[in-house]
């Protein structure tokens, strides 16, 4: 993984930069000693590590603005970081850059039940937002599996997903407003407690922008009334094709389950060995289908899904009779990643999205790749929205295995794009998938994206080295070649 070469001149000015930062962020908000910097050297993608120049932990929007203004004026790079749970290296530090931690922005500012929204600082965890409104019967819908640790600011930067996206949307569908600071220090507020932000949809653009466009300092999210009840079904199938067929027919019949998850045989066995959820072991695919809403609706739909499942050759079928049982059904799925960790010393989690009906074909080809690379793989699948997480099993202590796992992973993502899908469904591009962007996008597509980056950060100081395989200078991107044109398609009637 090649990061932009560190700027020696900036590193030589380290003491000067430390002094400037201490003038802006007093107290212990500037970290410079190596042992403490170590805590920030990587995020959830631990294969990549790098010590930052220094860490700065501002506590107010005004401080963030002054820090960015300074860095803008003195040409210092900045990497923003929430809780550091990114699985794509989005918060990987730079040796010549300030790591800007938003951890002190840890307060919920306003719970507004009449307007069904919460205004919060970005360093508040995903789960804490739900905890703040649960007493009133509300919750915050997006639920990435790291929700106990990951922060709302990071959720916005990565457009985090979860297991309820089909029905309740991703982060971007649940964010109403933002305050952000641009690299030049400008503080911009967009959206708010109202629906649809004004003018260009910058709220939408910021979601999933991976910390390259601005530093988020406040977020307004919408909250939803908690469904009255939820029940889960656990359905085993003799083949993956049957399970895929069942998913298509559930959705085709007009039912939108709150959660719809699929696991393949290796994933089922790993999860069952790990948490003893009571999963059937003699099936090739397992579907967890959760239906939520009023009791009358849930009961009605359970009967319909049962009929569809039996029609699709379901081998086993159980319906949760209590919340404890429902939690048990989910326990295996939610522990699938750590469970895979018991199958091999290391695993590498991939994150492509595919059109749902391509699942049997994609899993067959992943199995072939698994043989080719000599590495095992277990698959868990957000079947409702097509987001596939193959877990590639390897041993980093065996020479060459990490490289083989990475190659295997790249092949899987190429396959996802080939069948009409995308490189990443919820983990982000970061450094991990940066060099694969050209598989999905051509040069014109990527140039247009980079021009948007230029509109926010013309010197490319904010989180450089992430998302884009090539760094172009904005001046070069802005050039236009205009050819003296002829009236186009002259044979077409005009009036």
């Amino acid at each position: 993984m090649l990061m932009p070469p560190p700027d020696r001149a900036v590193i030589d000015r380290r003491e000067e930069i430390i002094a400037a930062m201490r003038a802006i962020v007093p107290g212990e908000g500037v970290i410079v000693e190596e042992p403490e910097l170590r805590a920030y050297e990587s995020d959830g993608l631990t294969a990549y590590r790098n010590l930052p120049l220094i860490v700065v932990l501002p506590g107010t929007t005004a401080q963030v603005s002054r820090v960015l203004r300074y860095c803008h004026d003195h040409h210092v790079k900045v990497v923003p970081r929430g809780a550091g749970t990114s699985l794509s290296g989005g918060a990987l530090p730079l040796a010549d850059g300030i790591l800007l931690g938003l951890g002190k922005f840890n307060r919920i500012l306003e719970v507004d039940l009449p307007n069904r929204c919460v205004r919060t600082q970005p360093g508040v965890t995903n789960l804490a937002v739900t905890a703040a409104v649960l007493h009133a019967g509300f919750y915050y819908a997006p639920d990435p599996s790291s929700q106990i640790a990951c922060t709302i600011g990071g959720n916005v930067a990565e457009n985090a997903g979860g297991v309820h996206c089909l029905k309740y949307g991703l982060t971007t569908n649940n964010v109403l407003g933002l305050e952000m600071v641009l690299m030049n220090g400008d503080v911009v507020r967009v959206g708010g407690r109202h629906l649809d932000s004004e003018a260009y949809d910058l709220v939408g653009l910021m979601n999933g922008s991976e910390g390259l466009l601005g530093v988020i300092t406040e977020v307004t999210v919408r909250i939803l009334p908690k469904p009255e009840t939820a029940r889960a079904m656990l359905v085993g199938f003799p083949t993956l094709a049957d399970a895929g067929d069942c998913v298509a027919r559930i959705i085709g019949s007009g039912i939108l389950p709150g959660g719809l998850e699929m696991m393949d045989r290796p994933a089922i066995h790993a999860a069952e060995d790990f948490v003893h959820a009571g999963y059937p072991l003699d099936v090739e695919a397992l579907l967890i289908c959760e239906l939520d809403g009023p009791e009358a609706e849930v009961d009605h739909l359970i009967r319909r899904v049962e009929a569809i499942a039996r029609d699709c050759n379901a081998a086993t079928l159980r319906v949760s009779e209590s919340d404890e049982e429902r939690a048990r059904f989910w326990a295996g799925r939610k522990a699938a990643f750590p469970a895979a960790g018991r199958l091999a010393p290391d695993y590498y989690c991939m994150d492509g999205t595919i059109p749902r009906r391509k699942l049997p074909e994609v899993l067959t080809r992943i199995a072939e790749m698994s043989k080719h690379y000599g590495l095992g793989v277990a698959n868990v699948f957000h079947a409702g929205d097509g987001n596939l997480h193959p877990l590639i099993l390897y041993d980093a202590n065996q020479p060459g295995q990490l490289e083989r796992a990475e190659e295997f992973g790249s092949d899987i993502l190429r396959l996802c794009v080939e069948v009409g899908g995308v490189l990443t469904g919820e983990h982000g591009v970061g450094v991990e998938k940066r060099d694969l962007m050209e598989v999905q996008f051509n040069e014109l597509d990527l140039n247009q994206q980079q021009r948007v980056k230029c509109a926010f950060d013309p010197e490319s100081l904010l989180n450089p080295g992430k998302m884009f395989p090539k760094l172009h200078r904005c001046a070069e991107m802005g050039r236009m070649h205009i050819h003296r044109g002829q009236m186009p398609f002259p044979d077409i009637p005009r009036f």
């Binding site: 967009v190 007009g254 609706e297 926010f456």
Partner: protein
């Protein structure tokens, strides 16, 4: 004035490149039902994309549809209805309100006090009586126009806006580059979400050549609970109470008495009072249960009534298309605010001769004002001062839209960023220049 009517994406690109070389800005249109929306564009030529039409991919089980921008919305909705699916954000037809080409031209001629004769008909389908009297109906809105303006209907509160349903697009930037963004799958974080940026950009950044949207199941059943005789504040309290339940309310609107009297739905027009409406939709047993629960909740708030499926559908089409303000020549504003601010903002922005309706649980204020040279902008802008939200001038004569800000004025840093974003797509100001903001 030349009108270019490309038939392919390549021809769109060639047209934009030609305009660039001529330094001649383009007005981008499809059916043209919303030409009177936004600031007037000073452009020598028109780029008419209505020739780029047709659905090229529809996979019901994948919940996805792709179509060219000039595809009539009616065509897409008919195709989806064939599989019991829909565009859940409930795109409106603002043609009648804007006095432009519309699927239902006879509506524009209806005087305020006369309910239209057949409120139940769908977009693009005309009653026999209407067909005999009127010339052939021009097409209604196109998919491209709906996405370009990010227009969503009453279900916005539950299902999201147009921007939440656009999965990806292909287009031609003002640099003459054909590019794509997003994809055809719902869960996608690969690169910047330029689809969001395009939705609601009023054609100022790129010309769409292909749009891919998420579709959702059509509810099996809908019903609407009515509360009669509430003032604005009491109505928003009732709507808020309903929206705070897990009843998955899919429409929450309030029509003061004068607006309600103009409805074509007999139960609403005949109420003789303000009408507050709450829509519930979904599977049969669930709809029945949730309606009962809402009626229990609201029993003390006012007199209750109920609309069956057909009447409910007709009523929400009227709300969606701002039917109460279609007739006449009053200035019409659209304000998006925090729902609890709706009544106060409506009162402050209104004044003598003003009228309003509330949708989105109070968060969407449609305001009709007597015609004025400044469109009442001073008062409307002042009503929003210090509050979250924005106001857009939807209907006013062209000279008025040229003279006052149509969209919400922006603070300096945001205005500068908006201009830089325009630069990044359209540095020579070729596409719909000035449609949203002067110089953009």
């Amino acid at each position: 004035m030349t009108s270019l009517k490309p038939g392919t994406a390549e021809q769109v690109r060639d047209a934009v490149r030609w305009a660039l070389s001529e330094e001649a800005p383009l007005t981008v249109v499809a059916a043209g039902t919303k030409r009177a929306l936004g600031r007037p564009v000073q452009a020598r030529h028109t780029l008419d994309v209505s020739g780029l039409a047709g659905i090229d991919l529809y996979e019901p089980e994948e919940l996805v549809v792709s179509a060219a921008p000039g595809t009539p919305l009616a065509e897409i909705e008919a195709a989806l209805a064939g599989h019991n699916q829909q565009l859940a954000f409930e795109p409106p037809d603002l043609g009648p309100l804007l006095g432009a080409a519309s699927a239902e031209p006879e509506r524009a001629a209806v005087p305020p006090d006369t309910p239209p004769s057949a409120p139940g008909r769908g977009r693009g389908r005309k009653t026999k009586a209407g067909a005999a009297a009127a010339p052939p109906a021009p097409p209604g809105p196109t998919l491209g126009g709906i996405v370009a303006c990010n227009l969503s209907g009453p279900r916005r509160i539950k299902a999201g806006a147009a921007r939440d349903h656009l999965l990806g697009l292909e287009g031609v930037s003002g640099r003459g580059d054909a590019f794509k963004t997003g994809g055809r799958v719902f869960k996608n974080v690969t690169g910047y979400d330029l689809s969001k940026l395009m939705t609601g950009s009023y054609g100022t950044l790129a010309v769409f050549t292909r749009l891919t949207l998420k579709v959702l199941p059509r509810p099996e059943l809908e019903r609407t609970v009515l509360l009669l005789g509430l003032d604005d504040a009491a109505a928003v309290r009732a709507l808020t109470a309903a929206l705070q339940t897990p009843c998955e309310v899919a429409g929450a609107a309030h029509l003061p008495a004068a607006a309600a009297a103009r409805s074509g739905v007999p139960e609403v027009a005949g109420a003789g009072a303000a009408v507050t409406a709450i829509r519930v939709e979904g599977f049969g047993p669930s709809v029945a249960y949730r309606c009962d629960r809402l009626m229990d909740l609201l029993r003390g708030a006012g007199e209750l009534d109920e609309l069956d499926s057909d009447a409910s559908a007709a009523f929400w089409r009227e709300v969606r298309d701002v039917h109460p303000f279609v007739a006449g020549d009053r200035t019409v504003w659209r304000l998006s605010v925090a729902p609890s601010d709706g009544p106060a903002v409506a009162a402050a922005a209104g004044g003598d001769g003003a009228e309003h309706i509330l949708d989105w649980g109070g968060g969407l204020v449609w305001l009709a004002l007597p015609p004025a040279d400044d469109a009442g902008a001073g008062r409307v802008r002042a009503a929003l001062a210090g509050r979250d939200g924005h106001a857009t001038l939807i209907r006013a004569p062209e000279p008025v839209r040229a003279a006052v800000e149509v969209f919400q004025p922006q603070a300096a840093p945001l205005a500068a960023l908006t201009a830089r974003l325009k630069d990044s797509f359209d540095p020579r100001r070729i596409l719909n220049p000035g449609r949203m903001y002067a110089g953009v």
